[in-house]
Symmetry: C2
């Protein structure tokens, strides 16, 4: 029985939804955006600022150090490492704390790599064909059709860079996960069901 499930996913593959379904069925806690909220609470930084900073590396955005001065009362030491890396370390500590406290499903943030020394993790990668992802991105996420392809490509490229930066590994390489599954072909219900079955082995 695995008590931690990490979900990495292509944008539009429904990975977050599948993670939530699996968490409900297993009776596990579910963490996604909540990780950012916890980091905001702990650091005194705004949640959106944490999210944007943590992800800015991958998008190649230049970090604006003047923003840092606004938060000199936070838990961070401005002298040490770049704020971006400090935020990642804070998120990593939060993920480690959560994993040691309760059975849970964690979506994103390279949690599979952060928790690599634990032997109770089931690491999952969710992907799907272009058509299924396009449909979800436009219909469920509300991205205008003319932008959808570009947003998909850019988001996955950013996720790959983020993962490579923090893990030195290739994002989406099957051997880096215990299970990789196509949500377009099988549907979200069957994907969640497969995760639940394998987690219970």
């Amino acid at each position: 029985m695995k008590k931690i499930i990490t979900i990495s996913r292509e944008y539009g593959s429904g990975g977050r939804f599948i993670g939530r379904l699996a968490a409900e069925r297993l009776g596990f806690a579910f963490y996604d955006r909540d990780l950012i909220e916890l980091a905001a609470k702990e650091s005194g930084l705004a949640a959106d600022f944490i999210k944007d900073t943590d992800e800015s590396l991958s998008a190649g955005a230049p970090f604006n150090f003047s923003i840092w001065d606004m938060f000199s009362h936070s838990v961070f030491s401005p002298d040490a490492m770049p704020l971006q890396d400090q935020i990642h370390v804070l998120l990593g500590n939060i993920i480690n704390d959560i994993a040691s406290q309760e059975a849970c499903v964690i979506v994103g943030r390279s949690a599979d790599y952060i928790l690599r020394d634990r032997d109770d993790c089931l690491n999952v990668f969710i992907h799907a064909d272009r058509e299924h992802k396009l449909r979800r991105v436009t219909e469920d996420f509300g991205v205008p059709e003319r932008n959808a392809e570009k947003v998909m490509e850019k988001t996955d490229k950013a996720r790959a860079s983020y993962y490579r930066h923090y893990s030195g590994q290739i994002w989406g390489l099957a051997r880096n996960y215990h299970l990789s599954i196509d949500s377009g072909l099988f549907g979200v219900e069957a994907c969640a069901d497969t995760i639940v079955r394998l987690a219970r082995l």
Copy 2:
């Protein structure tokens, strides 16, 4: 319901065994080394020669054209393309014929790519951690322990080259398969079971 299952696998991951289990449970035909035998029968070439030639590309072995002259009575035209590619085409034709005739599990030979235009294929990639693969390679395949690591590495490198040469795709990238699964963590029985369940959807 999918009627064709293709299995790609890391050396030592038990992919062939898992494929055979899944075929038995689904009542599907099973093709592995049999593909080579069929190609031998059709071409008049020796099975070992076909196997070695088809795989030589990836191992980087120079092709010895003098061998070709020994088989001038075969179905191949020596003028057309390199024998290696002709053999791959022959294997591709055999795989296409089999797929159109019966429900089956096919192991290796980039069958997922050869059959990419069909919509009744379930493409699976089997991998495992180093320890589980080493155990299988030494205990089941009888590879001496001192060579096992090198043989594993060389074989997987050859499979990756073969796949890249014929498909232009990256071998072992999750999105190229509908399901990728770690046989070391879950065991061969659970992997076969997962394939069977998903094939029946």
